[in-house]
């Protein structure tokens, strides 16, 4: 039986080694090219910043032309836009994009077969379009690529227009994108009007809980009336989310509503109400929180104890009463809260001693 000789195995081994070497060379060349591109993009970006600073329309047009001709050369534009521009700078850049045809090119790229090109185009269309682009970007919220959907949601959110808010609220009703990612884009006071309007529409019933959550994230006083109605007549989920939203708004106006929710039939709503009162509890709610300390649900008692611990001397006095009271379960929570309050005091004293 004949075996492989060096004359037969040598070329085989040499060929495999050659292929390996070539693949390494290719990888090295790609890395080098990428590093060169990174450097060039950084240079272009600083040139673009200069051009914006000097309001140099011809330099801006050059940048827009580059981005129009090669989709991979729009990095400088996206970096600048992502960092935030003054309205004057944005206007200059938008005018250059319009003149050079970049904006039309970007609109065409929204339908590109390449997902990354679509996502990048969405970012720039939102930033550079002179007309309201929210409706144009809306289909991308249902794109097949998850990253494109998120990029589109971000781009629409950054528009901060009522049309954009409406588009985002409509997308809440569809399952194409995680609702929380849309709510993040609505988390600003300006979105409160559209959110309130949407909350009262009959077709919004399936997303009313989400709208309550979004209203809380706006932290706007204008949201309180809508949330109040949800706390009173909403479903379990809506009442729970409304309580959380009221806690987020965190103004004295929400205290009566949270106290009302503290008597809800569902314990998670009561627990959320007690949690919402943490940091808000004044003299007016000490009694209610003291009663909540005797609630049959552990989480309500725990959250009430925490709210009393933060509430100052009156809260501590209430905890002391509960700690020596006849309700064993309330006493346990109260004693723990008092132990934490005392230890915090000790810690503060120790820090003061060290500082002295």
């Amino acid at each position: 039986m004949s075996h492989l000789s060096i004359s037969a195995s040598g070329p085989l081994a040499a060929a495999s080694l050659l292929l390996l070497g070539l693949s390494l060379l290719r990888l090295f060349a790609l890395e080098q090219r990428q590093q060169r591109r990174d450097r060039e993009a950084a240079e272009r970006q600083s040139a673009l910043e200069d051009a914006l600073e000097r309001a140099d329309a011809s330099a801006l047009a050059r940048h827009c032309l580059q981005a129009r001709n090669d989709p991979d050369l729009d990095r400088d534009l996206r970096a600048i836009v992502g960092r935030g521009l003054s309205s004057q700078q944005r206007g200059l850049l938008a005018a250059a994009a319009q003149e050079t045809g970049l904006i039309d090119c970007l609109r065409a790229r929204l339908a590109s077969a390449d997902a990354i090109t679509r996502g990048r185009a969405a970012q720039l269309v939102a930033a550079l379009s002179s007309a309201e682009p929210a409706l144009e970007l809306e289909p991308l919220l249902e794109d097949e690529d998850a990253d494109v959907r998120l990029a589109a949601a971000r781009a629409i959110g950054e528009l901060e227009t009522r049309e954009a808010d409406r588009v985002l609220i409509r997308a809440l009703g569809r399952d194409a994108i995680e609702p929380d990612r849309l709510l993040e884009q609505l988390a600003r006071p300006g979105a409160v009007r559209e959110l309130v309007l949407a909350s009262y529409r009959p077709e919004s019933a399936p997303i009313r809980g989400l709208l309550a959550e979004a209203l809380g994230l706006t932290r706007s006083l204008l949201a309180i009336a809508t949330l109040a109605s949800l706390v009173r007549v909403g479903s379990d989920e809506e009442r729970l989310r409304a309580c959380r939203a009221l806690g987020r708004i965190g103004r004295p106006d929400v205290v009566p509503l949270l106290l009302e929710a503290l008597a809800d039939d569902t314990w998670p709503v009561r627990a959320q109400a007690a949690r919402g009162l943490t940091g808000l509890a004044g003299l007016s709610c000490i009694g209610d929180l003291e009663r909540a300390l005797c609630d049959r649900a552990w989480w309500v008692r725990a959250n009430a104890a925490e709210a009393l611990r933060i509430a100052g001397p009156e809260g501590i006095a209430a905890l002391e009463r509960a700690a020596s009271g006849s309700d064993r379960f309330a006493a346990e929570r109260a004693r723990e809260a008092l132990a934490l309050a005392t230890a915090r005091g000790d810690g503060a004293r120790a820090l003061l001693e060290i500082a002295a």
Binding site: S9, G119, R154, L217, R248
Partner: protein, 421 residues
């Protein structure tokens, strides 16, 4: 005998050529994947997740046993990690040193009562402590039961939907938790997301640097595997975030198997597929944490042996998944490949070396052929190592491997040390 040795050497030569070709394919795939990931990076938004109130809350579980030196530093680093909503649960598994005392002193711990939120059988929790300085910290002192039992105890008391087991000696990158949690924010079907860890060999011994290189190679291979096969497994030493609900419903960690991390991931796959659940296990392309290297060859060998035993035990426990249609690529490709690697790698290597020596002694194999074998073996390993170094330069692994004056490819990593090395 002579004929057998000759044939054996031929087979080995062909295997080594195949190994080189496989390394070539991996390098080319890695180059392509890297270019694609770089382009996609522009669309990936981590900063919103890092500051959003709506980012899914995370319970970090730190199983501690005789960790008095590093535990306080580790807990502080986790609390300062910047993850939007987080709790840190330290589970002390009956340490004899001052682990609990150190924590008590640093965080002014006071005894509290806590109600478990999940039903898992664990050893008894003796005491629970909270910190008035930071409400996000919970310390549990329990009866001895091992790492898996400590993790299950943490799972029982975890409040949040996501859990992340973190050993105290790990060094997490500053955005590690956010990046690991990202797939859960964008796809509700995600049940786990893992990333490899690098060996933090800065100021380390040559052994640690070799370990680091080996880990980088494995990282590269699993990265390609994850991209091509959908990230079905989390490799050895991986850092992972899990959905608490799924882990608890699958029964938590199994303390009777040495490789409890791999075993859990396999069981999660099995649990989801057996119950017809649509799910996804995500895997990040790059390492997100560093673990300390071994100081000596003996320690490194023991560590490798421990990992091998863990893998073997986990594979043995789930051998029923092998070559079963229900488990798809995992059952047909990934598990058989890992099984061959774990069980047959050493016997094949020993047979190859023994055969080469015997062949040389009997004059069946020409010395030049043995040299060709050696060159082929070294080139495959060196090629993969070089590729891993090139691709991982920006994540700081190259710097930690080569020290401060060595090969530094690009980028400036920011590390969040969880423990002093």
């Amino acid at each position: 005998m002579r004929s057998l040795l000759g044939t054996g050497n031929d087979v080995i030569l062909l295997l080594l050529v195949a190994l080189n070709l496989a390394a070539t394919a991996i390098i080319l795939a890695a180059a392509r994947l890297d270019a694609r990931e770089r382009r996609r990076r522009d669309l990936v938004d981590v900063s919103t997740i890092a500051r959003s109130e709506l980012t899914t809350a995370l319970s970090v579980i730190v199983p501690a046993h005789e960790h008095e030196r590093e535990i306080v530093h580790a807990v502080r680093a986790l609390l300062d990690s910047g993850y939007p909503t987080l709790e840190v649960i330290v589970v002390d598994d009956a340490s004899h040193d001052g682990t609990i005392d150190e924590l008590r002193r640093a965080f002014s711990l006071v005894p509290v009562e806590r109600v478990p939120r999940s039903r898992l059988a664990t050893r008894r929790v003796l005491r629970a402590y909270a910190s008035p300085l930071d409400a996000r910290l919970l310390v549990l002192d329990k009866e001895p039961g091992g790492r898996a039992d400590a993790l299950n105890t943490g799972l029982r008391f975890a409040r949040y939907p996501l859990v992340c087991p973190v050993d105290p000696q790990l060094s997490l990158d500053h955005d590690a938790l956010v990046r690991l949690a990202r797939p859960f924010q964008t796809d509700a079907a995600t049940i786990a997301c893992g990333a490899s860890t690098r060996i933090a060999a800065e100021r380390g011994s040559p052994v640690a640097r070799l370990q680091s290189l080996a880990r980088l190679r494995m990282s590269l291979i699993s990265r390609i595997g994850a991209a091509r096969l959908g990230g079905p497994l989390l490799g050895s030493g991986a850092l992972a975030v899990f959905s608490r609900e799924v882990v608890v419903s699958a029964g938590g960690y199994d303390g009777t198997t040495p490789g409890e991390d791999l075993e859990l991931v396999l069981r999660l796959h099995r649990h989801c597929r057996d119950n017809g659940r649509h799910y996804r296990v995500a895997s990040l392309g790059r390492p997100v944490a560093g673990s300390p290297g071994s100081d000596s060859l003996l320690a490194a060998w023991r560590r490798a042996r421990g990992a091998r035993r863990g893998t073997t035990a986990a594979l043995a426990r789930h051998r029923g998944m092998l070559l079963r249609r229900r488990y798809g690529t995992l059952g047909w490709l990934v598990l058989p490949a890992i099984t061959v690697h774990a069980l047959l790698r050493r016997p094949i290597a020993l047979a190859a070396v023994g055969g080469a020596i015997a062949g040389l002694a009997l004059g069946v194999v020409a010395p030049s052929l043995t040299i060709v074998d050696g060159v082929l073996l070294a080139s495959a390993t060196a090629g993969l190592s070089l590729a891993a170094l090139l691709l991982d330069g920006s994540s700081g692994a190259a710097r930690s491997l080569t020290g401060t004056r060595g090969l530094r490819l690009s980028g400036d990593p920011v590390h969040l040390p969880l423990a002093r090395s």
